[in-house]
């Protein structure tokens, strides 16, 4: 436990960040020019950090695997971004945003970090407006807000259904400006395959140029990972196809602890899987649950007839429908939080009431809303979502109820970081979804964008100075040092090993197998027996992968199968760690549901006495078990209570 130092500043929670800023070390402008920082990932966190650091005068190298920084998966966020502006005069404040986030995270987040997040949230909105982000406005010309799950106030700012896209374009434009000014050097189509440590400090990275296949070495005084989440470990998720764990995983293998890997968020309203060929799941906005009612048929005959397409959903009379959320949670009904709604859908489908061919779908019905509000109102509210649904499923949701099913959406777990966002490797930082810090065991809607930008614009630029102030005497590195040579050699060896396997199974087919194992044993509900079996299965899959994967072509060209293979190899190892973490956490909290830890009526049961800690895992070698370090969570302000939605 001695290895964990979260460096939380002293003082009351509302003064910690002020105190920190007052006391942290600064770097003089003429020295900033001599310091290099590598930023990996150009999503909200990465792009905002790279731009802000360059504005301060540091020399930044920014990397992404896409062809342009603008394509990072932050773009996919639809709903909005939270901030404690209280423009609506409805009682919001920094404290409330902080409180809602800690509570929404089921009390598994670090208070000090969350308070800081709430504090800087307002600056984010100011910053984005100044950059020309076209937020929705009211007729008076001022910013509009909408409400979102888990909050009783309207604090969500939005830009049509494209909030993530617009915020990222804001950060991307700031980044582009710095590229033009010469402060940022941009490296696109690069996969980071290793982090280089010199004397225990992060000093550079090894990347593969995806266009040419060349292995490149890059050095810097500090390395920042802003590489997103790892939902793709499940194969099917709402993540982009290229989203991957590899940079964070290499950091883990070099000594950075991995925090709470089992905390994954399953979003309740996605379009169900519709065939074995499916590559990706599409999210339908959570806002649909404001007016839609979720149900399955009460009796099995109806279910079977629906599957055989003998009857349609609308033929089932009202009294034969089971509105199971309204039945189980009369107080919140269809508006229970994401994790609760997802588990309830799984419970019904496991009991055999799923309404599509695969038995993995429930209805989201707008019949009552249309009768009550009229089709026009429903269309005005949800028209674009209905249209999107129809494009994909080819059914008209105004007539036939939508079919939905939960899908992996966000990962709260990630690289462990201290208050300064530094990992357990000095000089290596981790921001945004890639770190574990702010969302505990469950993230609230519209908080991911907030966290990414808070880390990049307003936290890291301060905290990294505190470290770099003592690096001003370190001259620029050359990459011909033995540490770089060795890391590059290791990467080359691994790639060559992969290429030499010449097995029989494609990367995708192995990735699908991994996804099945993860979903089966480490999905919405987990139990000891299943997790133990899952770990075994993953170990077998790992052996199978390294024996039988089939990668075509050569290493020295654009080779998408090789890219995928590199990523899947890391996902397999991560999967095992997730299962170990899930096995260790014998409580149910947020997105993590252990079947052994539930109340009599099947609700999640948290265990604060034994598990109010962050599980930080340390890599111990290829075949050794990782070591668990516990960072105890001290709640100085918020009182721990059980969430109740009945």
């Amino acid at each position: 436990m001695t290895k964990i130092n979260s460096k939380i500043p002293n003082g009351p929670v509302s003064e910690k960040w002020l105190n920190y800023k007052a006391g942290c070390k600064l770097v003089n402008p003429s020295n900033k020019r001599k310091l290099d920082i590598i930023v990996v990932g150009t999503g909200l966190a990465g792009a905002s950090a790279a731009a802000s650091l360059s504005e301060l005068g540091y020399k930044v190298k920014a990397f992404c695997y896409q062809d342009s920084p603008r394509r990072a998966h932050s773009i996919a966020a639809q709903g909005g971004i939270n901030a404690a502006k209280n423009y609506q005069n409805d009682g919001d404040s920094v404290y409330r945003l902080f409180y809602d986030t800690v509570k929404g995270g089921d009390y598994r987040a670090r208070e000090a970090n969350v308070y800081r997040l709430a504090e800087v949230s307002n600056n984010i909105i100011d910053q984005c407006v100044a950059q020309g982000v076209p937020f929705a406005r009211d007729y008076g010309g001022l910013l509009d807000n909408r409400s979102f799950g888990g909050a009783q106030v309207s604090r969500t700012f939005y830009a049509r259904g494209q909030t993530g896209q617009q915020l990222l374009l804001g950060a991307y434009s700031a980044l582009s400006r710095q590229v033009a000014l010469g402060g940022v050097e941009l490296f696109t189509r690069r996969d980071m395959l290793d982090v280089v440590l010199v004397d225990g400090k992060a000093r550079g990275i090894i990347v593969r140029n995806l266009k040419t296949g060349e292995i490149e070495k890059h050095s810097a005084h500090a390395v920042v990972l802003a590489t997103g989440g790892y939902g793709n470990v499940f194969y099917l998720s709402t993540n982009a196809m290229g989203s991957n764990i590899s940079p964070a995983w290499q950091a883990y293998k070099k000594g950075a602890f991995f925090g709470n890997p089992c905390f994954t968020q399953i979003h309740p309203t996605c379009i169900p899987v519709h065939g074995t060929y499916q590559s990706k799941l599409t999210l339908m906005s959570e806002s649909l649950r404001n007016d839609g009612r979720i149900w399955v048929p009460k009796n099995m005959e109806a279910v079977e007839k629906i599957r055989k397409k003998e009857i349609n959903a609308q033929d089932i009379p009202e009294e034969e429908r089971d509105y199971y959320l309204e039945r189980r949670y009369p107080a919140f009904g269809n508006l229970v939080p994401r994790d609760v709604a997802s588990r309830a859908a799984k419970e019904r489908c496991d009991a055999g009431y799923g309404v599509n061919q695969e038995g993995l779908a429930v209805y989201l019905d707008f019949k009552d809303a249309i009768n009550r509000l009229g089709k026009d109102v429903v269309e005005a509210r949800y028209g674009n979502l209905f249209q999107m649904y129809e494009k994909i499923v080819d059914e008209n949701p105004y007539q036939t109820p939508m079919m939905i099913y939960p899908a992996v959406h966000y990962t709260m777990g990630g690289v462990w970081v201290d208050y300064e966002l530094m990992t357990s490797i000095p000089g290596l930082y981790c921001l945004g979804e890639a770190n574990f810090s702010d969302h505990g065991a469950n993230r609230l809607g519209a908080s991911a964008l907030m966290q990414g930008l808070a880390d990049g614009y307003f936290v890291l630029p301060y905290t990294i100075g505190n470290y770099l102030a003592s690096e001003i005497h370190t001259p620029r590195f050359k990459t011909d040092m033995p540490e770089f040579e060795k890391a590059a050699q290791d990467v080359n060896n691994r790639i060559n090993t992969l290429m030499e396997i010449k097995g029989t199974q494609t990367v995708d087919s192995l990735h699908k197998k991994l996804g099945h194992i993860m979903w089966e044993y480490c999905g919405m509900a987990r139990n000891e027996e299943g997790l133990k079996l899952g770990i075994k299965k993953i170990q077998d899959l790992k052996a199978e992968f390294w024996k039988d994967v089939k990668i075509p072509e050569t290493t020295d060209i654009f080779n998408q199968e090789l890219e995928k293979a590199n990523r899947v190899a890391d996902f397999i190892e991560l999967g095992e760690l997730m299962m170990r973490d899930a096995l260790n956490r014998k409580e149910s909290c947020g997105g993590h549901f252990r079947e052994e830890s539930q109340t009599e009526d099947g609700e999640a049961k948290r265990n604060d006495a034994d598990f109010a800690y962050v599980a930080a895992w340390e890599y111990k070698g290829e075949n050794a078990e990782p070591e668990l370090h516990k960072e105890d969570l001290k709640f100085e302000v918020v009182e721990l209570v059980t969430r109740n939605y009945k």
Binding site: R70, I75, Q166, M241, H274, Y457, P552, E553
Partner: protein, 256 residues
Amino acid sequence: MNLTLKIWRQKDSKTKGNFETYQINDISPDCSFLEMLDQLNEKLISEQKDPVAFSRGDCGVSFDHDCREGICGMCGMFINGRAHGPDLGVTTCQLHMRKFKDGDTIVVEPWRAKPFPIIKDLVVDRTAFDKIIQAGGYVSVNTGGVPDANAIPVPKNRADEAMDAAACIGCGACVATCKNASAMLFVAAKVSQLALLPQGAVEAKERAIKMVRKMDELGFGNCTNTGACEVECPKEVSISHIARLNREFFLSVLSS
């Protein structure tokens, strides 16, 4: 569905490319175009037994894709003579096979434009777009030290119009479909968005000149107002924004 695919194959930017014909059977009409290509690749890779052909790359077709929900702008191919295929208002990843008929022959080509060199098969290099944005597609503000978000009211209709322009995802369909390979719609979307907002209006003049100059330098063609770009744009960005770009451009030249 059973389909015949004629797909452009090209090893790298220097090698000459050619069309290859593939047969693919039992495709579900409910799957997306990219999922259909996934299945083709799965088949090509697992069936390719000849080690020479295998290492030479006569198997999987390379294509760009990422979010697969129509927002990242990474995917894009010319399908049967149309950018992003026959459907309107969608990217390639949102195009579904039900838009085709059993037995169809589908011709798939990469975006073709001088500033978009081919990297491999259907993958093109669109860094030209980044360079245009770097030339001026931003508001010159540093992090911090900005006024309160509500300090400057913006009329709702202007904010909405700015959002219409900002919806551009930079996929390059406008360039691909334009008979002149012009990037005017892309440039106009950014210039128009920022010119409409008071925050961006400060630099509106220099921005228009710089971005247009960069666009010309990179070798994009000239707009002849055919309007094809707005029809194929997956985000339906209107050519009215091109008119605004022209206006901004003339005004800035006149006043400089």
